[in-house]
Symmetry: C2
Subunit: 362 residues, 2 copies
């Protein structure tokens, strides 16, 4: 139950914008960050006290890194299991190995959610084309075929519109171990960002509402326009999942607000991310403690901060690819809080920054 | 009239907490920081993309530094004139050489303020013990003898209670060129933080009220409890000074709210700091754009942000020396925003951090 002290160092696996914003939140708390990332454009290096450039398979570099920090966290869930196991033996890894193991595999994750008595999309495991055909038979079309591992932002996914597309779809995902998911009819995509401390205390941010474009988050608004009873349900569900994972840090729970045939609203868990999440970026300006501060507090073994909103509502819009060229207008817009990620190269589909706007705040 | 672009680097002279908070404000705007500071405990290095450890007299290191950045600013006003001149010839130095020259010398500063038609404490230049004796004769006692250069937080100052103390006082400041100031009877100490952009646009933060202990700022509250007419006066006065200096960046104007014999309130300028200022730290949580963001925007040649408050009032308390050991209680206090500066060693009188509390905000 290590608790950090000011002056200690948190190690972060991954050098992208999430690590960058974690490091920016750690500094005011007197904590240093050491970023570990493979060769590449790692904008988190620009704001961290130290960094290591090495592969996640480099056991010697991982050991040196673990020896230089007092706790370790990560900005992405696809940390190789061997690296996670090695690091966890050398320093507190938060969130822990269970959270990683469960969320790295879509099938394991769905089964875990079911075991907690919560709803997911209907699904069948797919190991072969025969499995896929049988699954399409059972779930009907349209359905989505997803690789069990390494999917994000719509990558490793194929939408199947008819049974005749089965073979092409299975080939498209490289015949990898997969999961076939039935479609959920939903009216809104929501997410719950929940922080859980080392002592088991939990604190939710306002439920937020997400709009995707081309499988990439486009806009988040908070609080979500849903019934108070659903807010309570969503918070309970998130706390249940975080507690079952013995989670330490910020956990993102993506939900569908689904409507059963008789019209009743139901929360269906879409997926979990064991980390700070794009749909929580609005918390930087809108909340007393942001998702990044909450994560750092939890990883440090410190009490959680106050996630309450400081304004009536907030909206966050991602700047994807060339959209970042809007920066001069956004800088000049009163009330727009611009965040640029310091990435060297603008590429289509790449998250280059975001902008947050607050409504009815002071 | 260089305007920076995201990805560009701002060079900052000085590696303390002000440089650190500037770097933390530059990052979300997509700007890198390169810190230049002599050997020592430089907590700004922990959050900057690059740093140079060298003396301010090292012309070769200064030249390399200037070549690596697109604009240069500083966290302290005592930048040696030779360094400032060298740097200004190589890259935009903001605020510029005039602001440095005026504010580095208490006598020049007072004369400048007078030339703008504004009130200061009565003063006389002191080059010799004879000057000092004549000055005490003219201004009466108590009076304060201050070195013209290199004073801060009460250093380089002696309070003179009787004419008999003249010789000891002059010796105490090392017989350096000095200024003797008469006492101002005041009811409050105020400060105005004003930002001025490259295009001459100005924007004031709410006037704040300061309480010192042992010559070190203890507490700032904002907005100051003063008449609206005085707020307007203070803002005009600050804009006048910033414009006269052709200033770019955040300028701190320390004021006394003085009372003339007939009881009328009058604003007397105490001193200027050509940089972000301890009395503006509350703006991080309380304002849409903080003093650090405003300074970075101005230095980058970008439009100023919105300095409006997001809450009814705010208070900031410095954590000096051992007071920083309160960190666990402050971390656990709902609504307290803790800032620790990442300094390696706690020493009496050293600014180790601060805490900001907001009132009546959302």
């Amino acid at each position: 139950m290590t608790r950090l002290s000011p002056g200690d160092t948190i190690g972060i696996l991954g050098g992208g914008q999430l690590a960058r914003m974690l490091a920016l939140a750690a500094a005011p708390l007197g904590l240093r960050c050491h970023i570990y990332a493979p060769e590449g454009d790692n904008p988190a290096f620009q704001v961290a006290a130290a960094h290591t450039v090495a592969a996640y398979e480099d056991a010697a570099a991982l050991a040196r890194f673990a020896g230089a920090v007092q706790a370790i966290t990560y900005e992405f869930e696809n940390v190789p299991a061997a690296a996670a196991a090695q690091l966890a033996a050398l320093a507190p890894l938060r969130p822990g190995a269970t959270a990683l193991a469960v969320t790295q595999d879509r099938l394991t994750e769905k089964r875990f959610i079911h075991a907690e008595g919560l709803a997911t999309a209907p699904f069948v495991p797919v190991e072969s084309l025969a499995d896929l055909r049988a699954g399409l038979d059972r779930l009907g079309v349209p359905a989505i075929l997803k690789t069990r591992r390494f999917g994000y932002d719509g990558k490793g996914q194929v939408l199947i519109g008819s049974a005749a597309e089965a073979e092409a779809a299975f080939a498209a995902i490289g015949a990898a171990p997969a999961i076939l998911e039935g479609m959920v009819r939903f009216s809104r995509e929501l997410s719950v960002l929940i922080a859980r401390g080392l002592d088991g205390e939990t604190a939710c941010f306002a439920i937020c509402e997400n709009e995707h474009r081309h499988h990439i988050l486009h806009r988040t608004t908070a609080p979500a326009r849903i019934q108070p009873a659903l807010v309570t349900d969503a918070e309970r569900l998130a706390a249940r999942l975080a507690t079952a994972l013995d989670y330490v840090g910020v956990l993102a729970v993506e939900l569908f607000l689904a409507h059963a045939d008789h019209g009743e609203a139901e929360l269906v868990v879409n997926e979990l991310a064991p980390r700070v999440h794009n749909s929580g970026h609005w918390t930087i300006e809108a909340c007393h403690s942001s998702q990044f501060e909450q994560h750092i507090r939890a990883v440090a073994g410190w009490p959680l901060g106050n996630p309450a909103m400081r304004c009536a509502s907030a909206s966050m819009i991602n700047l994807i690819g060339d959209e970042v060229s809007q920066w001069p207008a956004l800088l000049a817009e009163p009330g727009a809080a611009l965040h640029l990620y310091g990435k060297a190269e603008t590429r289509p589909g790449r998250k280059m920054g975001h902008v947050t706007r607050l409504q009815n705040g002071h």
